[in-house]
């Protein structure tokens, strides 16, 4: 496809950039309303306990203070996947950090004072803190009874009643056992991924205001429409009376998908009859919001002598904490767990277990990083045993155009081999290096979103010929606003500065499933493209009547209607709009786009004719220097190549890659939530380290363009994949230098050293 685009593919600066870098953007914690109160939550100090009594009377006696607990709010259970949560703990608490009561007061100090006056009497219960403990027979139950599963999850939901196993499923193709028996070698290894935190810089913040019968919620959310539906249902009011307005969102990474403060803020506002603002402290973020969903992954791979992968049996055991938000990652792992490899005989099973800890939820790449650490580490172990170059082994087995992937989709628009070859070249694979320096590779893939993924958009022409895009997806930093403006500008023949955008307000923007799973560029992007085409056609209709030239002979270019057939024609958009607005009708383009869910376990899978397009592939390579005496790993260079379909905005694409890589670096080297009997012991940026400026290696982002026909201008999503392969690539580099294999994340210096020492012992040293 020849790239003769004006706006697509150029490094346009974000339209919302100026308000952000001038400090004027209004984020969640910046919202105010006249007369507002501050809300704070009293949280359980215990991981599992019966609530004997709650006495709020002393707190209520404080002037100007509203105090509520479970008695004062609807007792409906809610949750996007499984309905297993209530606004406040009822009868018992299930993790240290669970909301028990809340207070609203004119300032935060007073609200905290009120909380300190609430007496809660607990009776501690035996608790479970790991998925393995939780899955054991006779383990204390986190939830004695469960609410129903919702929407798309219903079909694939398979709990084991009377246990903490909230979901168990498997995806099976061919005859794995026979194929493993036929294989020349069988490798079986178990890996542990840690629980990390999203660490968006902006804490959760919400302001709820109940006025008459209308509720307005300002919040920093990745999915305003899902949130609206949930809140309206919870408080039993029509969705038409529940308005969720997104503030600027200071990062999400999956941590701002599900409700956190919103139900409490609405309840406090209903009781106090005042607007109520709530902002989480960073300690609350670490102990009560959510982390990733950690997994133990056991991989059994059968390999032929020539390196051909013969069969794979992968078992995931997930620890979802006290709420089942780990369902999406546990399901995704069944599709994506095998990585981008051609393996016919395949079994992937996934078990999700409740424990008495803060919940695990979706986090950038949900479910893919955990599997990739296992698969990509084991690929290097296989290569070593076979005496093959890890690059060769991968090239031999990766998916190619036309192959059938793990879930029986035909592979299309794949640029993986080019990705792998380019990172190998970039990192100097096979070139000489000092003995304390190692290089490692990983290839990764992520399937398209598993939700039924629907988006809508409006594109409206303004009086002066400029245009307005309205979308319901959230800008959380990923650069959606600029890409949507570029798409509209390209279609409309406008300079990109002439396109404005509004997003994520349930009362004014059209429906969108929201921002998750690298879906917005693709789905919202298509909706915008279609809406812009609709608006352009309407504009040309009006122009056609004005100049009496058939629409087919008209086109748009540089804010004008032109005609190849009538080169003398030049009509400005403003002139056409004047006509439309005075004697015809406004020009409002409408676009919708959707893809349906495709769970591997759905019974109709076998008959499915369509496939959900947009598998994303990438290859990553690292070069790291290892200090054998201290175990410290200094990553020096990283190359990350992504098959992006078409890079709509190179600055944004590079930004997503480099940002994801650095998040992957933290995930690999030092990020983990640490627990002591269910309580998080490192709830601050001092004790939970995310990468800082001083740790940043040289990073080479590479965009490989193999256009995806279904995507807007050929584009695929790019948001998540860059986090995925860094950990195994570094693990592989460590192995190259020290000869030890680390199977547990993060790759702490201490763990590196332990591995070296135990290897010495094994070799009788």
């Amino acid at each position: 496809m020849a790239d003769d685009y004006r706006v697509i593919g150029t490094p346009v600066v974000r339209p919302d950039g100026a308000e952000m870098i001038s400090g004027q953007a209004v984020y969640g914690p910046d919202v105010t309303q006249p007369g507002m109160l501050w809300g704070k939550i009293l949280r359980s100090p215990l991981p599992h306990a019966r609530i004997r009594s709650i006495d709020v009377e002393k707190a209520r006696a404080l002037p100007g203070v509203t105090v509520i607990s479970a008695h004062d709010v609807p007792d409906r259970r809610y949750g996007y996947a499984i309905e297993d949560e209530q606004i406040f703990a009822v009868e018992k608490v299930r993790y240290a950090g669970e909301p028990v009561a809340a207070a609203a007061a004119p300032d935060e100090e007073r609200a905290l004072e009120a909380l300190s006056l609430i007496d809660v009497e607990y009776e501690e219960l035996p608790a479970v803190f790991t998925a393995a403990e939780g899955a054991r027979d006779g383990a204390p139950l986190v939830h004695e009874e469960l609410g129903p599963a919702r929407s798309v999850y219903l079909a694939s939901w398979n709990p084991v009643p009377g246990t903490n196993i909230i979901h168990q499923a498997s995806h099976h193709r061919g005859d794995v056992d026979a194929a493993l028996a036929r294989a020349d070698y069988v490798f079986e290894d178990t890996f542990h991924a840690s629980q990390i935190h999203h660490c968006y810089m902006e804490p959760h913040a919400t302001l709820a205001s109940v006025r008459g019968s209308e509720v307005t919620v300002w919040t920093c959310s990745q999915e305003v429409f899902q949130l609206r539906t949930l809140l309206a249902g919870l408080f039993a009011i029509p969705e038409s009376r529940m308005r969720v307005i997104n503030t600027k969102v200071g990062g999400g990474f999956g941590g701002k998908i599900e409700p956190r403060l919103e139900p409490v803020a609405v309840a406090l506002s209903m009781h106090s009859r005042k607007p109520v603002k709530m902002v989480m402290t960073r300690a609350e973020e670490f102990t009560a919001a959510a982390g990733s969903t950690p997994a133990t992954v056991t991989v059994k791979t059968g390999v032929m002598k020539d390196g051909t992968l013969a069969a794979r049996d992968i078992d995931f055991l997930w620890d979802t904490g006290a709420h089942a938000e780990g369902l999406p990652p546990s399901n995704r792992a069944m599709k994506d767990g095998n990585g981008p490899y051609r393996v016919h005989d395949l079994r992937i099973s996934s078990t999700l277990v409740y424990t008495n800890k803060m919940r695990g939820t979706q986090l950038r790449g949900l479910g893919v990083p955990e599997g990739a650490f296992a698969i990509e580490s084991q690929m290097d172990m296989i290569a070593e045993r076979l005496g093959m170059d890890p690059l060769e082994l991968r090239l031999k087995n990766i998916l190619q155009e036309g192959d059938i992937n793990s879930i029986d989709d035909v592979v299309q628009s794949i640029g993986l081999q080019e990705c792998l070859e380019s990172v190998a070249r970039e990192i100097g694979w096979g070139e000489p290096k000092p003995p304390n320096v190692g290089r490692g590779l990983a290839v990764i893939a992520k399937s398209p979103t598993t939700h039924s993924s629907i988006s809508a958009a409006y594109v409206q022409f303004n009086e002066d010929g400029s245009a307005q895009v309205l979308v319901g997806a959230s800008e959380i930093g990923q650069g959606m606003t600029v890409v949507m403006c570029q798409i509209a500008a390209e279609v409309l023949g406008l300079p990109v500065e002439q396109v404005g955008i509004s997003s994520a307000d349930t009362a004014t923007t059209p429906y969108d499933r929201g921002t998750f799973s690298s879906r917005v560029t693709f789905y919202t992007g298509m909706a915008v493209k279609i809406a812009a085409e609709d608006a352009r056609n309407q504009l040309l209709d009006v122009a056609s009547r004005m100049v009496e030239i058939p629409r087919e002979d008209l086109a748009v270019a540089e804010e004008r209607v032109v005609s190849p057939v009538h080169p003398e024609l030049s009509l400005t958009f403003r002139e056409v709009l004047e006509r439309a607005h005075t004697s015809e009708r406004p020009i409002l383009g409408r676009g919708t786009y959707g893809g349906k869910g495709d769970y591997p376990t759905l019974p109709h899978k076998a008959q499915r004719k369509e496939y959900v397009p947009g598998w994303k592939y990438a290859a990553q390579a690292v070069e790291a220097e290892i200090d054998e005496e201290t175990g410290i790993i200094r990553v020096r260079r990283i190359a990350s190549a992504h098959d992006v379909g078409k890079s709509l905005n190179p600055t944004s694409v590079d930004g997503q890659i480099v940002g994801g890589v650095v998040m992957g670096l933290g995930y690999a080297l030092h990020e983990r939530l640490q627990f002591d009997n269910g309580r998080i012991v490192n709830p601050s940026f001092m004790d939970y380290k995310i990468p800082s400026s001083q740790e940043i290696p040289e990073i080479a982002p590479i965009a490989v363009e193999v256009p995806l026909p279904e995507g807007p201008f050929g584009a695929k999503g790019i948001g998540e994949l860059a986090i995925v392969g860094i950990a195994p690539a570094i693990g592989n580099a460590i192995h190259q230098v020290l000869g030890v294999r680390l199977k547990e994340l993060p790759l702490f210096p201490e763990r590196v050293l332990e591995a070296v020492e135990s290897q010495r012992k094994d070799h009788g040293g």
């Binding site: 870098i21 984020y27 600027k248 930093g477 990923q478 590079d654 400026s693």
Partner: protein, 153 residues
């Protein structure tokens, strides 16, 4: 409570605040300058970075009372009306702003660095930003923007 005489972005302001009020709270809650962000309140994330007498400080660990008689500069003091200044423009051009929450603090730290050291090396830039966390960009675009500024790009 105390009456504080502060000079913020060149303008005098008198505010009433508790004796030991923090500069961050005074800026945000009393002067409605919300460019300094609440990120961690433990002096680790740097989202609240402002400049006091030219130095980058984390305003969550600065007593407002101590800033009397000093020049406080916040992100709102950068640029001219609707015009961004050169460093702000370079931040945007290099993609140094994604979610933007760390942006104002990063910018203030970068300005303090560039004033003290107009031609920093890459390592000096990294060191100069050691009090500012960013979760989106991977920092590299921020380094690039600062280096471009110092090169006069």
């Amino acid at each position: 409570m105390a009456l504080l005489d502060l000079k913020v972005n060149g303008q005098e302001a008198q505010v009433e605040a508790p004796d030991t009020a923090l500069l961050l709270d005074v800026l945000r809650e009393r002067l409605f300058l919300t460019g300094a962000k609440r990120g961690c309140e433990t002096s680790h994330c740097g989202c609240c970075t402002v400049r006091v007498d030219g130095m980058a400080v984390h305003s969550c660990v600065v007593l407002a009372a101590r800033c009397q008689g000093k020049e406080i500069t916040t992100v709102e003091g950068c640029g001219d009306g609707m015009e961004l200044d050169r460093l702000q423009r370079l931040f945007l051009e290099h993609g140094a702003v994604q979610c933007g929450y760390c942006g104002p603090g990063m910018l203030m730290a970068a300005k303090a660095l560039l004033e003290r050291n107009p031609q920093p090396t890459l390592d000096e830039v990294k060191k100069g930003l050691d009090g500012n966390l960013c979760r989106c960009t991977g920092y590299t675009p921020i380094f690039d923007a600062i280096l471009a500024y110092s090169r006069g790009a």
